[in-house]
Symmetry: C2
Subunit: 732 residues, 2 copies
């Protein structure tokens, strides 16, 4: 049944891969993400059922998302020996992710004193019912022996800054076992319920702790027979729009139990079929690229908040609590385009999250003495900023280091405005503007006007004291990317006001009155006219990343790397090895050139790509895809291809930072996943959709024979097929 | 003959005090400073004859002033044993500084295998002839023994970033011995010549190395007899305004030799008598305070560039190469007032140095993209900035740390403008304005206009991204001190233009034309009108040091100190323990309140003193005097007194930082010396001179019975006498 083209596999057990496989073998459905851990793993192996958009604070720790009690927990005892990968090396083992069907599979054989014991497990986080996870767990032996399966809900969860749950209620209700609790800070209830079904006779009893509850299933296993249990696990929280989460939580488990595993399973894989129907990208000619790109799309699908317009996508997806489970600009600039082209309803939800959190952005602006909307650098449920003023720990002293991500990375508001306008322009859905989108754009523009300073001597507005995408250089003036995005935002505000004024005069007047925006219009007109946006140097064509960049030490990446004393050192900030050099963290000018590629000549794009690429550490997973995209834009797919490969494989290879000091910072990289989709579709296919009109300018890599993908434009599905001989756009 | 009230004495030898005594027992005459080391010391004991205003660079090192070959070098051999404090502990020893007469004295007795050997030495750096140093060196023994006196010119000099001299010529010319060389960078010649006279028969020969030349004077010493040599040492450099430095250098030595030691000595001490005649401050009631204050005045006198209007006073005086021998704002804000009131010709020379280096300030402004004059933070001979972009070394990594003293401490230009206008207003000497002073002020104002940004939303100009006097907080916005000083500068420019326009219309027109300043006048009028100067908070009356200061962590000085991991850590900059707290390095708002004390109420001054003092580390020797001055201004001499004592004793106690890592950063603290004079005269006497009119508002400390001092106002001498019963101002 398994389609080997869609399979991620790890067929040997290596204790060092437990954490990275936890990311690599993720399953999820946008409501929750379940890490790719073994059924018998606990908090020590970073097992987590991560809940989207439910945050909590414990003490002085960072706010972070909740991990629910683990309803899939299942372990095995043979004789009195606990059989688990974490304490007994297997003779055979494989872990498999079926990305076509959203299934996690494992096969393990242990050679014990009582003979061979084999486990086959299949599990999924249902795409058909977001509150449901299911596990099919089959045991066989080659000699008769006494077996105990301990399965239930493990309440001892992995937390970075926990514990986040309290007031536990642990109980059995008819055939359900239950762990309910409330969050520490906001007292949001969380309930996990489980029904365990089995196909064989056994003696069963219930074991409880303060936070956990388990079935102990004891029986004499006979050779050549399969012993299977099915688990139906339901998760609900107080964030769900329902009156009685306990009742609903019971219902989810009971209903799926009534349906039976096979039916629930089929509903799930059918939903996956639908997802792939609209989002698959076929690459012929290179199986590795095909799998990596599909895997990227899979990673985006398992975190897509299709079910709610109150959620967005955190920078590490639903792979845990790293990066505080917060929403970054990653979502708007790197993830949104995929959904916009394949699942516009998800894109609208992402945009809606920003509309809904506008007041949080207003509060942040006010705190810093500005007007309008200054969006959170690391956004939590109400738009509050989870970002700390001390986001880095100095490795030499162990002290927190003052960083300026929160207060100086002002380009975040432009990313939000950009997402709103792009989504409106792509979908043509004016309701997005009328229902808050226009307000967001206007408030972002207003923020920038209140942030800017006028330089009389140069007769221009400047954007001072910011951090651009290249975070290694803090508090710079006139960052090209930022200034350009500010210009875009101001222009967007004026454009949106024009649209509303002409087509919806009443709504326009209401909005202007509500925001008391009449004076601001004049300000914005002048601001746009006189805003300084760094231009290519007349001689060199190079656009300086920020004022004074060209005077920084010009030395190679390897030279800067060689200056590291400790490999975990932060490269930026006050003392970082990169901060006084021209070495940058990630695409910055190049990102600007890509986003505004129609406004710059090929020559300028090429010169700047060649200038900045050797100076770029690609220390962020957001970087390679942009270099890939810009090289495609200038018709150089050879430059582009290795960056595509790098981007598409970030979570497969696990080659990214996993720890900062003692703190786990790993996880999945949805922005890179979005970036790999963009590299293929916008880059190699050269897809452009302008006012609903589709065009392609293909630049296929040499080793690809065909690129075939689907998009949805204004409600209509299209298939785009590209070979080296030509291209075809077909309406479904 | 020695007046014990004017004596600094150290009557035991302690090897650990060699370096600090080198500062404490300094002699000098403004042309050169000779460290308080023993005659037999060499570069290892930081012996130095430091030359004012002659700088050199070696390789990539910092530029620093030259130390001349040491013409006073004299050591002793008894039998074959070298007798020197650095290698043989004495049985008796005293080192004495006679600050009344500018004499350095030493008395040392060694108990040797050949009996007691006693040295008495007296030396001075002549105030009557700036190129001359003399030494009288007397030996006696209690048993007959063979003595060798090795004396001459030791060319192996102490350098931090040397060697600075090359192309040595080492020779004997008649009765002169000579070491001549040129500087490394600019090939400036330096010549040292010596004549050694002796009162006894001996066998003498000459010993030479590549860089040194010595007389070896050998004789059998008899008991109960004094063997005295006299050394006449002459120092000239290519910076002296003469055609033939070799000839002049010979002449200085020969002439003084012809005059004989006693006459030369008398000329010297008579000059000191003149100096004290106009500058002494008598304190009755506390001998310690009297001595400390006179010592402060002595320190100022030995570095006063009376002879040249091309020199100023470095921040560590002439005590060595630390702080690069550079001129800081210390001179204008802390040292100038003493000279203005006691030696206006020196004050004018100090101001002239800034006028002469205006082009250096213009170049610096241009480099950073501004107009007008941005004076060097650490000024060398042509106004070039000796300040590095990496002025601190991180103690944990040994790496240079990016600092912003050079490019962001913009208040330096205001200090220069302040000095020019104050000197003009005090002396009434319009030639100062006509001969460059007005041009300096206008160019400083122009610099600030080109530095400022206009905040339309608040309808005001702001001064962004600066460092105020409190260097622990870098890159702040709207530092109260800086903004106020900018306002002062702009106002000064407008004022000076008014003066010239009315009284010297032709010169005014010429200046405006030369500077192409007509448009700038309008700019400055508007700039002054709308420049933001932080005001006392309406509720608390506290003036925020800079935007956002009040949001920094409010914790105690001891708490911040307790966070140090390494005692040599820098407190400021990107990672410093103070930088994220309200702990400041030195008087900042309090300095502003003192300078502009007529514009603020006593209540505001008191509240801010009480708020900022506990938050001040006094990590700079510029800080305590200002706290002393402001407390006197609000009539609280009790608060003031301990800060006076601290200031006046900085160089006597040696309680200041001596090393930063392996680099010696100690030296004398002329700004503190100037500060202690100000504390007594402006503080406790409450002296004010406005348009030539003198007034006092005394606040004598309880333990003082009398304060008596002299000032010169517009060519006339006055004596001011203050007791607890009243005060008297008498014209001489």
């Amino acid at each position: 049944m398994i389609d080997m083209d869609w399979i991620i596999i790890d067929d040997e057990f290596n204790i060092n891969n437990i954490v990275s496989n936890g990311n690599k073998f993720m399953t999820g459905n946008g409501y929750m993400g379940y890490r790719g851990t073994m059924e018998e793993y606990t908090d020590k192996e970073l097992t987590a059922c991560n809940l989207a958009g439910l945050y909590d604070r414990q003490g002085d720790g960072w706010r972070e998302p909740i991990n629910a009690p683990n309803g899939l927990f299942t372990t095995l005892l043979v004789g009195n020996k606990v059989l688990g990968l974490n304490n007994f090396n297997p003779s055979e083992h494989s872990q498999v992710l079926d990305i076509k069907n959203g299934l996690h599979l494992r096969n393990t054989v242990w050679e014990t004193d009582y003979g061979k014991v084999k486990i086959e497990a299949e599990r999924f986080v249902s795409l058909a019912d977001i509150h449901l996870m299911c596990l099919k767990y089959t045991l066989s032996v080659d000699k008769e022996c006494a077996i105990k399966i301990k399965t239930g809900i493990d309440g001892k969860v992995w937390d970075i800054n926990g514990p986040h749950l309290k007031n536990y209620s642990v109980k059995k209700e008819n055939n359900l076992i239950v762990v309910s609790a409330v969050t520490n800070e906001l007292k949001v209830p969380v309930s996990v319920k489980e029904i365990c079904e089995r196909s064989f006779e056994a003696v069963e009893n219930i074991e409880k702790t303060d936070v956990s509850i388990f079935h102990n299933i004891c029986f004499m296993a006979e050779p050549k027979r399969n012993y299977t249990i099915y688990k139906y696990v339901s998760v609900w929280t107080g964030n769900d729009e329902t009156e009685n989460i306990e009742e609903d939580c019971s219902l989810t488990a009971s209903r799926s139990f009534s349906m039976g595993y096979e039916k629930v399973y089929l509903e799930h894989i059918n939903k996956w079929k639908d997802r792939w129907e609209t989002s698959d990208v076929v690459i012929e000619g290179c199986e590795d690229d095909q799998l990596a790109l599909r895997y990227s799309i899979y990673q985006l699908q398992i975190i897509a908040p299709l079910h709610s317009n109150r959620l967005s996508i955190p920078a590490r997806g639903l792979s845990g609590q790293t990066y505080k489970g917060a929403i970054f600009w990653d979502t708007e600039m790197f993830i949104l385009p995929f959904f916009l082209h394949t699942a516009p309803e998800v894109a609208k939800n992402l945009v809606n999250y920003r509309i809904r959190t506008l007041n949080g952005a207003r509060k942040k602006a006010e705190y810093y003495g500005y007007k309008g909307a200054f969006y959170a650098w690391e956004s939590h449920e109400n738009g509050q900023d989870a970002c700390s003023d001390f986001n880095v720990t100095d490795v030499f002293t162990g002290r927190p280091v003052k960083t300026y991500f929160k207060d100086k990375q002002v380009h975040i508001s432009a990313a939000v405005a950009y997402a709103v306008l792009e989504t409106y322009e792509f979908t043509g859905d004016i309701s997005l503007l009328l229902n808050g989108g226009a307000e967001v754009i206007l408030e972002c523009a207003r923020f920038y006007y209140s942030y800017t300073y006028f330089k009389e001597e140069k007769d221009r507005y400047e954007i001072l004291d910011v951090i651009g995408p290249d975070e290694y250089h803090e508090r710079v003036n006139n960052n090209a990317y930022t200034n350009k995005m500010v210009y875009y935002t101001v222009d967007a505000a004026l454009k949106v006001m024009d649209i509303l004024e002409v087509n919806f005069p009443k709504e326009y007047e209401n909005l202007i009155d509500k925001l008391d925006f009449r004076k601001d219009i004049d300000y914005l007109v002048k601001f746009k006219e006189k805003l300084y946006v760094p231009k290519p140097d007349k001689k060199t064509l190079i656009i300086e990343e920020f004022d004074g960049y060209s005077r920084l030490e010009n030395c190679s990446l390897s030279e800067v790397r060689s200056r590291l004393i400790n490999p975990k050192e932060y490269w930026g900030g006050g003392h970082g090895v990169a901060s006084t050099t021209q070495i940058i963290k990630q695409a910055d000018v190049v990102l600007m050139l890509y986003l505004f590629r129609n406004e710059y000549s090929s020559k300028v794009k090429k010169v700047n790509w060649e200038f900045y690429e050797p100076r770029t550490e690609h220390g962020s997973s957001l970087s390679p895809c942009i270099y890939s995209l810009l090289s495609c834009d200038i018709g150089n797919e050879r430059w582009a291809y290795p960056f595509f490969v790098k981007t598409a494989n970030v979570d497969l290879s696990g080659d990214s930072k996993q720890f900062a000091g003692s703190i786990y910072i790993g996880g999945t990289h949805p922005a890179a996943s979005g970036g790999s989709w963009m590299s293929a579709v916008f880059g190699f296919a050269g897809l452009k959709v302008v006012e609903g009109k589709i065009s392609v300018t293909p630049n296929l890599p040499n080793n690809w024979n065909r690129l075939n993908f689907k998009i949805i434009v204004r409600g209509k599905k299209y298939t785009i097929d590209i070979t080296h001989d030509g291209s075809e756009i077909t309406k479904a």
